[in-house]
């Protein structure tokens, strides 16, 4: 009785393995077409850094909102396009744009100093770099910052203002006088640094600065002197004038009928916008970049800037009430993180689904009779284990474009995460399986061989079940590591839970979301450990 039951279980396990394998092939087969599928003309994929309020960020309900996204939405509506809001990792923005996984960068994107790198729209927001310090700080003028530690966001315009190629000598000298110029990943961590006294000042865009000061209360203040002034534009892939012109003309139309101003007002940016200046000028001399640049630089004058700033502050206070993120409690944060948890879970399950059978397949290749195959598997495993998973993810995601000139479809981002994780984990599982198989005593094979079992029967009936039992502890370790590794998907800006937690933390200017995320990982791993233990116990019917 017992016997036939176990047989059934084993047959079911085999069947499952077969289905998984088949799944892999189907998946790989279909994946080629997924990569090649062109973005059709009716969608506009806007890339943005989702922790950059009020231009683009995540609100309490988990929606991506912001001034730039509202503008993009309106542009799409007028052109009959579907808008795809794609949060990206700011460091990868050029790769994203060039590979076609986004159509444009629309995200309070500073033009100054990047004129040659993108095909730009005209400036629509004017911004300047200002300094924020603690309210009780001794810093009152820019020159007070000498000997202090200053934070800027990595690859931000504030950083460019100090160390970029086009930085003014004044700013370079100012930067020299700092004790240190620290780069941080996002503004939320910058404020956490400032609050905790790890840095003395933060340099950032004026619009962001006002938003942050407003939502964080009067613990901080802004210096009256500003470091530099700059404009925001929409960045398109170099040479993509067609899309630029369409978007830009739609913006002009929105400026003409005041829609643009209305949206700006909603976001408290009325005094920052500058699109109007360019509408008539551009209608006369379309596409003349040199003239545009001149007018950009001549537009801002130091004195005017501060007055504007004060106006903005009032406006922000009056108009952003409904839209700006307020601090939330534990439950509502957990709710917001829900979508990210789902993403994390799907990375986890799909990775296991594909990497376990793939690992077994790799084990067969690794243990094959043929030296060539053995070496291929060996080299593969050594590369996958010897290089960072994050690097592998980037290669899987951007490789098809940079190596094969394939255009990436929108959905490839998720596939890339799963492919990257599965390929990596398969290498680890393969080595675990191999040692598990080698650990089964030779006598088992010999007994089976004399009894007439074929190679296949010997593996499936005798070796595999004993291997499974042997590999449970190391596999459990890998699975637990996988739970934590899922957060590496941020490298491809796939919004799993940790990325989301960082975005919400930035939007709400609080670190609570990070704690909630930590708690979730802990519970997740607790469940995983529990399940694995139960499986191990189940396998303990023999020794």
């Amino acid at each position: 009785m017992k016997e036939s039951n176990k047989g059934k279980v084993q047959r079911r396990m085999l069947l499952l393995a077969a289905v998984l394998l088949a799944g892999i092939f189907v998946w790989f087969g279909s994946d080629g077409t997924a990569v090649q599928a062109e973005n059709d003309d009716s969608t506009l994929i806007v890339g943005f850094d989702a922790s950059f309020p009020p231009y683009g960020y995540q609100d309490e309900s988990g929606e991506y909102v912001g001034f730039d996204l509202d503008l993009a939405q309106e542009v799409c509506k007028r052109n009959g396009w579907k808008l795809v809001k794609q949060p990206i990792d700011w460091d990868s923005k050029d790769m994203e744009l060039n590979s076609g996984s986004i159509d444009c960068i629309w995200n309070g994107f500073t033009m100054n100093g990047r004129e040659e790198e993108y095909t730009w729209s005209v400036p629509y927001v004017d911004n300047s770099q200002v300094v924020i310090v603690k309210a009780d700080s001794a810093i009152h003028k820019l020159s007070d910052m000498a000997g202090k530690i200053v934070a800027v966001q990595a690859d931000s315009s504030a950083l460019a203002a100090f160390t970029g190629e086009d930085a003014t000598d004044e700013n370079k000298a100012l930067c020299e006088s700092f004790q240190d110029l620290q780069q941080v990943g996002d503004y939320n961590s910058a404020f956490m640094n400032l609050e905790s006294g790890m840095v003395d000042a933060i340099c950032m865009d004026i619009g962001v600065a006002k938003y942050q000061i407003e939502s964080r209360g009067d613990a901080f203040r802004m210096l009256e002197e500003s470091v530099s002034s700059e404009q925001y534009g929409i960045g398109f892939k170099k040479g993509n004038d067609t899309l630029r012109d369409t978007v830009q003309n739609t913006l002009f139309a929105m400026s003409e009928d005041k829609t643009f101003e209305t949206i700006a007002k909603e976001w408290g940016l009325t005094d920052c916008i500058c699109l109007k200046e360019y509408v008539p000028a551009l209608l006369v001399e379309e596409g003349d970049m040199e003239d545009d640049e001149k007018s950009q630089t001549s537009y801002v004058e130091e004195g005017e800037e501060i007055v504007q700033g004060e106006k903005v502050q009032e406006d922000t206070a009056n108009n952003t009430e409904g839209k700006s993120a307020s601090k939330s409690d534990f439950l509502s944060i957990a709710k917001q993180l829900g979508k990210g948890m789902l993403a994390t879970l799907s990375i986890f399950f799909f990775t296991l689904l594909f990497s376990l059978p793939l690992g077994l397949l790799l084990t067969f290749v690794r243990m094959s009779k043929y030296k060539v195959l053995q070496w291929i598997a060996r080299i593969y495993i050594s590369i996958m284990r010897g290089t960072p998973l994050m690097l592998q993810l980037l290669v899987v995601f951007f490789g098809p474009y940079y190596l094969l000139k394939m255009n990436l479809s929108y959905s490839y981002r998720f596939y890339a995460v799963i492919i990257g994780f599965s390929l990596n984990y398969a290498a680890y599982f393969a080595e675990i399986f191999r040692s598990g198989i080698e650990g089964v005593p030779l006598g088992q094979r010999e007994a089976a061989s004399v009894l007439g079992y074929s190679r296949m029967q010997t593996f499936t009936k005798i070796i595999f079940p004993q291997m499974v039992k042997r590999v449970m502890p190391p596999v459990t370790n890998e699975v637990i590591t996988l739970v934590k590794d899922t957060s590496l998907a941020f490298a491809l800006a796939y919004t799993e839970m940790f990325t989301l937690a960082k975005q919400i933390a930035a939007a709400q200017t609080s670190i609570l979301p990070l704690f909630v995320a930590g708690l979730f990982y802990y519970i997740f791993n607790f469940v995983v450990a529990f399940v694995m233990e139960a499986v191990e116990k189940k396998l303990n019917y023999y020794r």
Binding site: K2, E3, G443, Q444, G452, Q457, Q466, Y542
Partner: protein, 254 residues
């Protein structure tokens, strides 16, 4: 009928000749004991006969059907295709020194799995026969136990039942009692003796000289990869002619 016939069998490991021109025939119903010092090649001989090792020279037949043949010109051995070889495997069973039971199968499953899955025999018939065999080796009450729950002697009994369940024409034993305590050894030897009385054809590698004397029709003394002396047990064991046989037996009797 000759169940097994080996002629001029040679086997090398890394250039070292472990079997040097071995010829051996076993008739139906015959019990042959193989004795000899450690490293003389007894296990290797059984492993070649059971296809666990590949021979380097010579021929091999089961039930008077050639299985391994030699190429006339190159003198290279030719094995049949795997499928045919698996048919030949049904002619014999092998009992190992360390049992090699399948730890994840219960006692009963260990015995019935190969007859059902490999020989494709009727399930009910196999189960019935397996229970009879387990009763015969004195383990009727252990059919649902797992190997780790059994003593070494009990495990070896299961291994014998597993080999018998395939209804082989002959059985090979490679030192079946060497891993067991002396008081447990007797039980296993009794079962083997019973098999001999039931006319089972057997080839037994053993260090149990007294057992060999009683149970064997023929005793073979091997040394250094060769058959040095063979004959009736009373001749080879009690009146050995060869000096090496004498030396070996003398050492054993201490």
């Amino acid at each position: 009928m000759k169940v097994l016939e080996m002629n001029h069998v040679k086997k090398r490991f890394d250039g070292k000749e472990v079997l040097k021109d071995i010829s051996l025939t076993i008739e139906e119903g015959e019990v042959v004991s193989i004795i000899g010092p450690s490293g003389s090649g007894k296990s290797t001989l059984l492993r070649c006969a059971t296809f666990l090792e590949q021979m380097d020279g010579g021929t091999l037949s089961y039930s008077e059907h050639p299985v391994v043949v030699e190429d006339e010109e190159t003198k290279k051995v030719i094995y049949p295709p795997k499928k045919e070889l698996r048919e030949v495997l049904m002619d014999f069973g092998l009992v190992f020194q360390n049992f090699n039971l399948f730890p994840h199968y219960s006692v009963l499953k260990n015995v019935v799995d190969a007859p059902i899955c490999i020989q494709k025999r009727e399930k009910e018939e196999v189960y019935e026969e397996a229970r009879e065999l387990l009763a015969k080796v004195g383990l009727a009450d252990k059919e649902n136990a797992y190997p780790y729950e059994l003593s070494g002697g009990q495990q070896q009994r299961v291994a014998i039942a597993r080999a018998l369940a395939m209804n082989p024409k002959m059985l090979y034993f490679d030192e079946p009692t060497s891993a067991l305590d002396p008081e447990i050894t007797a039980g296993i030897l009794k079962i083997m003796k019973q098999l001999a009385e039931d006319n089972m054809t057997m080839a037994i590698v053993t260090h149990e000289i007294d057992f060999a004397r009683v149970v064997s029709d023929r005793v073979i003394f091997m040394d250094d990869g060769m058959i040095v002396e063979e004959g009736k047990p009373e001749d080879v064991i009690d009146n050995p002619k060869n000096e090496r046989t004498k030396a070996f037996l003398k050492k054993l009797s201490y």
